[in-house]
């Protein structure tokens, strides 16, 4: 068997494990017990269901708009102005995106309760919008920044020879940024539409919580499936116009020389600096600070009493996370190779569509597909969690690795082939070292996502497995506030430790001389 056949077989395994359950779910939505599932199709027009759909759409629209607006400002400030400590500020801004959303939610709950905010606000739509905006603003900033980097300074300079920069910004820069703005809007819309933890914690009925209740509390599988299909259809319909940009553009850059871009002197640098720092203090440091204060105000030195019961969850989460990140990175490499080297482009589009399927829908599809006598060995073991991780995060890994793979000039491998090196040797000596940094990044980013994933895992985790997000989330209902805060703090520290390992690991492993000037 040649290498292409081996890689395609591996890809086929992914489709069998992840895509088949989703196809089976679609089939079950329309055909129920041998007949058309008409009742469940009409019941989605029930008042409560429509209200939850309305809430979901309001939240998603508001979060997407505000995140893109703020993200655009931050991207411009960090990339194109002389703002001080921009690297540090950018890192801080990114923190909410890397933390579990329920941790951020618990933290804000602490802040608002302490500040005496009315409960009517805490448990309301604006509160959900606010929290999700702080989480997704860094994602918008990240994507828009990549778009800004790809605007050649010459384009701006040519405009500046004719008119003021204000005109240039609105007539040249913004139109060129349009794909990045739209993509970040659509991505954030989809992510907030499938968000489960924050609305659930703040008791706001949305589509995902409605599906969860129908499936887990009322065992109304038929309705839950139909609602899942509607939710998925909304996400996919939104995604399709933007799929070209989302799959083709480089959001990650490893040693790639981008265009020269202009950096501007800020006229009111002090004022802007203060505003940016205040935003970051308010949205990042204050909730984390309160989480810490809340924890230690009651437990004092007995923080260990909170950690101790969490140890089995920490251990399970860590090892399953490592296994998931390793497997996804390997699969990411396989899919990237198939996409870039064998030019099977539709694979990335397909993975993007799977990525757009809300996590709760993935959970339901996996339960219905694997909870059968012949496949129960997967359903009742940790394998089901790994399959769920694959469905959720493979696209991210492929995006990171394929962006990097595309940036390796073909002439590097051609030059090696001419010497007679065997393909695997060329891969081992030339391609793999050049891909190393992106594989490493993929591993750690996916590890963080795996450790924080809740929406899918809460539905499928097998008996005897105790995962940190599930443990914390299930205890929020009956544990005292300081215990919930303490557990969230543990989760936060866990993520920060992994981020630090990633930072120093990257410095140690990839700080070779040949990279330093790139």
């Amino acid at each position: 068997m040649n290498s292409k056949a081996v890689l395609l077989s591996a890809a086929g395994l992914f489709f069998a494990a992840v895509v088949l359950p989703l196809c089976a779910l679609i089939f079950r939505a329309f055909i129920n017990d041998g007949g058309v599932a008409a009742e469940s199709l009409t019941s989605v027009f029930h008042k409560d269901v429509l209200q939850s759909i309305g809430n979901s759409l309001i939240i998603s629209t508001a979060v997407s708009l505000s995140s893109v607006l703020l993200g655009c400002c931050f991207a411009f400030l960090f990339l194109k102005t002389t703002i001080l400590f921009f690297k540090f500020l950018r890192l801080l801004l990114l923190l909410p995106l890397l933390l579990p959303s329920y941790v951020i939610c618990v933290a804000w709950n602490d802040v608002w309760l302490f500040a005496g905010v009315y409960k009517d606000f805490i448990y309301s739509l604006p509160a959900v919008v606010f929290i999700l905006t702080t989480i997704y603003t860094p994602l918008a900033a990240f994507i828009i920044q990549a778009g800004l980097k790809n605007i050649n300074a010459r384009m701006e300079e040519a405009g500046m020879m004719i008119t003021s920069y204000k005109e240039v910004f609105f007539k040249i820069v913004l139109p060129l940024l349009r794909p990045a703005l739209f993509s970040s809007f659509i991505l954030i819309f989809i992510l907030s539409l499938s968000e489960f933890a924050v609305p659930s914690y703040l008791s706001i009925p949305v589509f995902t919580t409605e599906i969860f209740i129908q499936f887990s509390a009322f065992y109304n599988y038929s309705l839950a499936i139909t609602q899942s299909i509607i939710l998925t259809s909304i996400c996919l319909l939104l995604l399709l116009p933007e799929k070209k940009y989302l799959t083709k553009e480089h959001f990650f850059s490893f040693g790639k020389k981008t265009f020269r871009f202009r950096v501007f002197e800020l006229r009111n640098r002090t004022l802007t600096q203060i505003v940016v720092m205040l935003y970051i203090i308010f949205t990042v440091l204050v909730p984390v600070g309160f989480l810490t204060a809340q924890t230690f105000s009651k437990t004092g030195s007995s923080f260990l009493t909170i950690i101790k019961p969490l140890l089995p969850s920490l251990k399970d989460s860590f090892f399953i996370g490592i296994a998931g990140a390793f497997m996804i990175t390997m699969y990411g490499l396989i899919f990237s190779w198939l996409t870039v080297q064998f030019k099977i482009k539709f694979l990335q589009t397909f993975l993007l569509l799977v990525f757009a399927v809300p996590s709760i829908v993935i959970g339901i599809s996996l339960i219905l597909f694997y909870n059968t006598p012949s496949l129960s060995f997967i359903y009742s073991s940790k394998l089901i969690i790994l399959v769920a991780f694959m469905a959720r995060f493979l696209f991210i890994s492929v995006k990171i690795i394929s962006d990097s793979l595309q940036q390796i000039p073909v002439s590097y491998t051609d030059a090696a082939c001419i010497t007679g090196a065997k393909p695997f040797y060329v891969f081992r000596r030339i391609t793999f070292p050049l891909l190393g940094e992106s594989l490493f990044t993929s591993f750690f980013i996916i590890l963080i996502f795996c450790l924080n994933e809740l929406s899918t895992i809460i539905m499928i985790y097998p008996p005897g497995t105790s995962l940190l997000p599930v443990t914390i989330f299930t205890r929020t209902a009956n544990a005292p506030q300081y215990v919930v805060s303490g557990m969230s703090l543990v989760s936060l520290l866990f993520t920060i430790v992994i981020l630090i390992c990633m930072f120093f690991g990257k410095k140690m492993l990839f700080n070779q001389q040949w990279r330093t000037s790139r």
Binding site: G255, P409, S411, Y412, D414, A415, A416, C417, I418, T419, G420, A421, Y425, R429, I430, P433, L434, Q512, Q513, W514, R515, S517, R518
Partner: protein, 228 residues
Amino acid sequence: MFGSKTILRNISFEVNEEKSFASILGKSGSGKSTLLRLVAGLESLDEGSIYISGVMVSQRNKIIIPPHERNVGFIFQDLALWPHFTVYQNIEFGLKQKEIGDYKRIIKQTMDEFGIADLKNDFTHQLSGGQQQLVALARSMVLQPKLLLMDEPLANLDVKLKTQMRKLIKQLVEEKDISIFYVTHDHREAMELSDKIILLNEAGIEYYGTPGDINYSDNSFVKEFMEV
């Protein structure tokens, strides 16, 4: 064919085996680089065949002799120096593949010849443009090819360095008994270096002959391109 676009058609020419310098000229998109890649065996032909030293190396949709068995060297336009290898490792890579016993001596000798012995532990980004050219040449020449394919290798150098490198390349042809296929769009460079010129256009070869005769060509495209 590249996708649905035909890059080269009606191409037929011969070049002497030893000490020959053939320049391939043409406008952007005329297929100069593709021609080199076909000769190297990095692309396959849709029609026709390629012979090297009387042996058929490529035939319709089939690469009969793989690139590494054709005894050709290739200097890429971007030089393709591996950034994670030092100068020494870049040169060593090919020799290791050939499993040549005394390869360390050969590397040392080659590095001395090209005047890059002092750079052996440097990474390629630390080198100047001219030094990078020398390393790329050394990496190819250390394998003693009979034919060296060069894809606009001097495009990014300043005038002074270009002149030096041209001299060196000419010297290589004389001393090493090799032939060179040299892609360029600079007709003056081609006139100065070559003993054969191949001028490509979308329709195929517009001119194939010596630099001396090109001025007498009746072909309007040739006249325009060569500014006759």
